[in-house]
């Protein structure tokens, strides 16, 4: 395989961005549909090339293809080159990114139909895909960071796509700034690693960690710095607050952000640097604890949200926590395997939410209900995705979640119990949404909604494809390909751990059924019994308030920064003006000498200089 193939995978979506931005938007304004076609064609081509790469990587010895490097910058004693890395991890991620992105673009054709920003939307989507592909392929930390920020930029642009909505503009800024707090740690870690090792190359860093040249507290701090970047991008506690707000973007954007790009980047980063993390027990346990805690923390909030996209957002945060937990307990293969499976069912869930919104004009599950009859396809696919995320055998979610639980059980029993509890919560909140949305009677939707009807084929088709993938993706030998173990199709059911988790998931579904479909139990009385908890969850632990009102506004902007501002105006400038004022008073005496004309001052300076020069001439 020629090395240009890997470049083409990145560049195809980039060309699509360039063509849309510089040709279609300025010159072919009345044919915006071209933008959609070009995007789909370029990402489709990238998908085909990614498959080629995958096949080559499978055939290659050690599942690694050697690739050439190109020199980019030489300054002083530093030389930085660019290159791509093609191993099993990159190959799997390429497939995830291109396939989910392609299906999202097809779906967007229907969802974004008639939007005035249609071309702009596809331009950003192309660039988004390009950045994510670059991030996946980058073989050194600096270039990974470059695309990492590119992914952040595109999320910013797409979350704020409907910029005339103040909430969208706010959410976009929030997403960028919150993730940048994490990026600060990442950048610091890159500088730190370079200062210690003199290289940005990920392969070399792994070698140094392997032979012990990079170890101890240096490695731990570097790994934690890198992980802070991952915490920001993958919306882990405590930097998770941007992701729910990111719902303000168009729904297909959420499907892409939550499945294959942006949030996947953080998990991918940890996986990419896994050999480094693996040599620092402290870093590993940090990753595991943050992941395990985030999984259950976000799930509890997901229990009580009434906006279907908010439930899905917290579910994403929770599932990313699972992935981090999996990586933190040493399960590189299972963590990425879960990312792989999650990409399909989560993209599907968001498309389902978009489809429902298309029909009802709302995302509030209290206003929906009874959509099963009017939207059978949406219902069927949503059901499959929900079963998959709940971890029901033999759907895809089962296989990877099982792997993570098994690893956690072996290494971190406490976190294992948290993860088990999350299995129950996950099943409950997903089926709560399912029953409220599709079961019972229709409760009217938003006031200006048209009669209920199924979404067009262009939206249903990608959903159906994703539904198939949500069933079968777990059967693929991804885990084995990435160096983990695989289970037999039926023998997996023999393990007690699997049976317990299935039981918990079933209980979660049953409870949701009892509360929201059969109404055996009263939701209201349950809520009153657990009133303090309900308030805590529905206010999202007051973290948004804590961050924005207390920390950012009270402590920084109106506190520390205001103090600096006051100091600048009153003390520094005050002193300057004070001295000037004193000089003015003194100057009254010799005012007659002063003409107030700057030209005269200039002349005086010049004469002064001449005088000095003359002095030198005479006395020198």
């Amino acid at each position: 395989m020629p090395p240009e193939v890997a470049l083409a995978i990145i560049l195809l979506p980039f060309f699509s961005f360039v063509i849309i931005s510089f040709v279609i938007r300025p010159f072919l304004k009345n044919r915006p549909q071209l933008s959609g076609y070009i995007t789909i064609a370029s990402i489709g081509a990238s998908l085909l090339l990614s498959m080629w790469v995958l096949i080559e990587v499978i055939k290659a010895p050690g599942h690694v293809l050697p690739m050439p490097d190109y020199q980019w910058l030489v300054v002083g004693d530093i030389a930085i080159s660019i290159g791509v890395t093609l191993d099993s991890l990159a190959a799997v991620m390429l497939i995830v990114v291109t396939s989910v992105s392609l299906l999202v673009q097809i779906y967007s054709q229907g969802y974004m139909h008639g939007d005035p920003g249609y071309s702009r939307y596809f331009a950003f989507m192309s660039l988004f895909t390009c950045s994510m592909l670059g991030l996946v392929l980058a073989d050194n930390l600096l270039f990974l960071y470059v695309f990492w920020e590119g992914v952040g930029l595109c999320s910013y642009l797409l979350i704020g796509f409907w910029f005339h909505k103040p909430e969208a503009a706010r959410a976009a800024t929030k997403a960028f700034v919150v993730t940048r707090i994490g990026d600060f740690g990442f950048l610091a870690a890159i500088l730190f690693l370079f200062a210690k090792t003199g290289t940005f190359d990920i392969g070399e860093l792994h070698q140094l960690a392997l032979i012990g040249a990079l170890g101890g507290t240096v490695l731990t701090w570097a790994a934690i710095g890198v992980f802070s970047g991952a915490v920001g991008k993958s919306a882990q506690f405590p930097l998770h607050t941007w992701l729910p707000d990111a719902m303000e973007g168009p729904t297909p954007v959420s499907a892409l952000i939550h499945a294959a790009t942006m949030v996947a980047a953080g998990v991918y980063l940890v996986a990419r640097l896994f050999p480094m993390f693996a040599h620092s027990p402290q870093a590993m346990i940090t990753v595991a604890i943050i992941g395990g805690f985030t999984a259950i923390f976000a799930a509890t909030i997901g229990l009580v949200m009434n906006d279907i996209k908010w439930v899905l957002a917290y579910s994403t945060i929770s599932q990313l926590g699972y992935m981090m937990l999996g990586l933190g307990v040493g399960g590189l293969a299972v963590g990425i395997f879960h990312l792989f499976n999650h990409a399909f069912f989560k993209a599907l869930l968001f498309m389902g939410a978009g489809s429902v919104n298309h029909a009802t004009g709302t995302f509030d599950i209290r206003e929906m209900g009874g959509l099963r009859k009017a939207m059978p396809w949406t219902f069927a696919t949503f059901l499959i995705a929900s079963l998959s995320i709940a971890g029901i055998w033999p759907l895809s979610g089962f296989w990877s979640k099982e792997g993570i639980l098994a690893h956690a059980w072996a290494h971190q029993p406490i976190l294992f119990f948290l993860a088990m509890a999350t299995v129950f919560l996950t099943a409950f909140y997903m089926f709560r949404v399912l029953f409220l949305t599709f079961g019972g009677e229709y409760r009217g939707g938003s006031s200006d909604a048209h009669p209920l009807r199924e979404s067009p084929l262009v939206m249903i088709l990608p959903m159906a494809l994703l539904a198939i993938l949500s069933v079968i993706s777990g059967w693929l030998p991804i885990s084995g390909f990435l160096g983990g173990e695989s289970h037999g199709f039926f023998s997996a059911l023999a393990s007690p751990l699997a049976l317990v988790s299935l039981l918990l998931a079933a209980l979660g579904i049953l409870l949701a059924y009892a509360l929201y479909s059969a109404r055996w139990l009263s939701v209201e009385s349950l809520r009153q019994t657990f009133a303090p908890l309900h308030t805590l969850f529905s206010r999202k632990y007051w973290l948004d308030e804590l961050y924005e009102r207390v920390f950012v506004m009270r402590i920084l902007v109106d506190g520390l920064f205001a103090a600096c501002h006051w100091f600048d105006d009153q003390v520094i400038d005050g002193a300057v003006n004070g001295i000037a004022g004193g000089t003015v008073t003194a100057g009254r005496v010799i005012r007659r000498l002063q003409t107030g004309q700057l030209q005269a001052y200039g002349l005086a300076i010049f004469i002064g200089i001449l005088a000095i020069v003359a002095c030198f001439l005479i006395f020198g």
Partner: protein, 494 residues
């Protein structure tokens, strides 16, 4: 002596100014065309120098050397090396674009454009002089046109701001002149190349070397500006007309950083190392303090002005981290910031021209009215917050990389990390500003507001293109800068 390229470049704008002054009938359009012609010619010539520049030599090139006042050994000595060439190009490019940005100025157009061109000559002279007295004279030339441009064509408290600028600068240059003369009295020459090679410090003794170093440094610190000598900057930038803000922020303050490397570090390598911890700390204060105060600004132009203080902190950090990479980064940061902030001021000028509002809370929803301005504003803003792929990232990253590995200051890693923290605050104020000015529902009072016209588009697109070009392939400049920094770094004996 070869063909006097540098003299021609330096004096082309002055010749333009004289031509404008001698013009019998001062029709504004003709004045503008003359100004544009002369500045464009200077730009094209300097671009030609950029291609003729030999990237394998580390000394000054295109040298013009003639004795001027022989009795005190003052020379007319010009030359550019890898450090000054980027500054030369930056100046001629922004000088030309400043004329285009001023296209709508019709009030006393003849004087305005004449002064603008004189200003450019002064700045060009600073970057090309290799004799301290010549350097000082050019340094002073800039003050008068700047004072007049702000106080006549400015807005707001323009007389106050102009006078503040003049007093600060004169104070700085008085000390600088004292430093230069002290230096001369011991070395017997004003030749900057010879002074750098002499290794003067042992002869001077540490006390005298320190005194001269800080006399000179103070003059440059006011210009850059360094906390706490910065309060002239927001006032002058805010009240100056758009093109003058562009020159001030784009080039003028770079004279400070340039001179710190060219004079302070080159001639006083030992003293620089001794005081590097202090200056690096001051740099970090400038970065964080500047960013904190920027975040509080409610006036669009003042916000951009304050952000310069923070960004110039990175220049100071890079210079006094005293590593080859960090000084190259600092020089790239000067160029990059010149383009980025020049563009930001041009854009703020456009927004103000069209809406007559500069208060951020009053603006809002302009995205639909001025989509092109929004796109370029976003590019410039993202470059200011150091997004990879823009020149801002390339420059700041080199500064961080070089500083982090520097061996001169112990604990510089902590300072660098604190400096990196600045990029979070920068993201905050840039994105907040974009959000408040452009996003949100369109406001009724900006109903008929127009987007950039053809000439304006040319100006802002060309600057945005330079930002992207350097961001994607910084070697265009770093290969040149690196050769300029090499002998200076060598002189440090590290």
């Amino acid at each position: 002596m070869s063909f006097p390229y540098l003299s021609i470049i330096i004096f082309l704008p002055l010749m333009g100014a004289i031509a404008i002054a001698l013009l019998p009938r001062a029709e504004p359009r003709r004045v503008k065309l003359i100004a544009a012609f002369f500045t464009l010619l200077a730009f094209l010539l300097s671009a030609a120098l950029f291609f003729m520049f030999d990237r394998s030599l580390d000394g000054p090139q295109f040298v013009e050397q003639a004795s001027w006042i022989p009795s005190i050994n003052v020379q007319y000595f010009l030359g550019v090396d890898g450090l000054s060439l980027p500054m030369l190009i930056l100046t001629t490019m922004l000088g030309f674009l400043a004329v285009l940005v001023s296209w709508r100025i019709d009030r006393r157009a003849r004087e305005y454009f004449a002064w603008l061109l004189v200003l450019e000559t002064g700045i060009l002279g600073v970057f090309c002089s290799l004799d301290l007295i010549l350097f000082f004279l050019f340094w002073e030339v800039e003050i008068i046109p700047m004072y007049l441009l702000i106080s006549i064509w400015g807005t707001g408290r323009k007389e106050y701001s102009a006078m503040k600028f003049v007093i600060y600068t004169l104070l700085g240059s008085a000390l600088m002149l004292a430093g230069i003369l002290l230096l001369y009295s011991h070395a017997g020459t004003f030749d900057m190349v010879a002074l750098a090679q002499m290794g003067l410090e042992p002869a001077l003794g540490s006390l005298l070397a320190t005194a001269i170093f800080f006399l000179l440094f103070f003059g440059y610190a006011v210009k850059l500006p360094v906390f706490p000598f910065h309060t002239w900057l927001p006032d002058a930038h805010t009240d100056a007309p758009t093109a003058v803000s562009l020159i001030l922020a784009g080039i003028l303050i770079k004279m400070g950083g340039y001179a710190m490397i060219r004079v302070c570090v080159s001639i006083f390598p030992e003293t620089s190392q001794t005081y590097a911890p202090l200056l690096v700390a001051l740099a970090v204060v400038s970065v964080l303090y500047g960013a904190a105060v920027t975040l509080r600004q409610r006036d669009l132009k003042r916000l951009i002005a304050y952000s310069s203080i923070s960004h110039m902190g990175y220049v100071l950090l890079g210079i006094f981290a005293l590593s080859q990479v960090s000084m190259t980064g600092a020089t790239l940061q000067m160029f990059s910031h010149g383009i980025i902030t020049g563009l930001l001021f041009a854009l703020v000028g456009l927004v103000y021209d069209k809406t007559h509002v500069r208060s951020i809370p009053e603006l809002g929803g302009l995205a639909r009215r001025m989509p092109i301005i929004l796109v370029v504003f976003s590019v410039a803003g993202l470059a200011a917050l150091g997004l990879p792929g823009t020149s801002g990232f390339a420059a700041e990253f080199l500064v961080f990389l070089g500083s982090f590995r520097s061996t001169v200051v112990s604990g510089i890693q902590i300072y660098t990390i604190l400096g990196v923290l600045g990029i979070v605050i920068t993201a905050g104020y840039i994105l907040w500003m974009l959000q408040r000015v452009f996003y949100g529902p369109p406001k009724a009072q900006y109903e008929g507001v127009l987007d950039a016209d053809r000439l304006e588009r040319f100006t802002i697109f060309s600057l945005a293109a330079v930002i992207m070009l350097i961001g994607i392939y910084p070697r265009i400049l770093t290969d040149v800068i690196d050769m300029g920094i090499l002998p200076i770094f060598g002189g440090l004996g590290l």
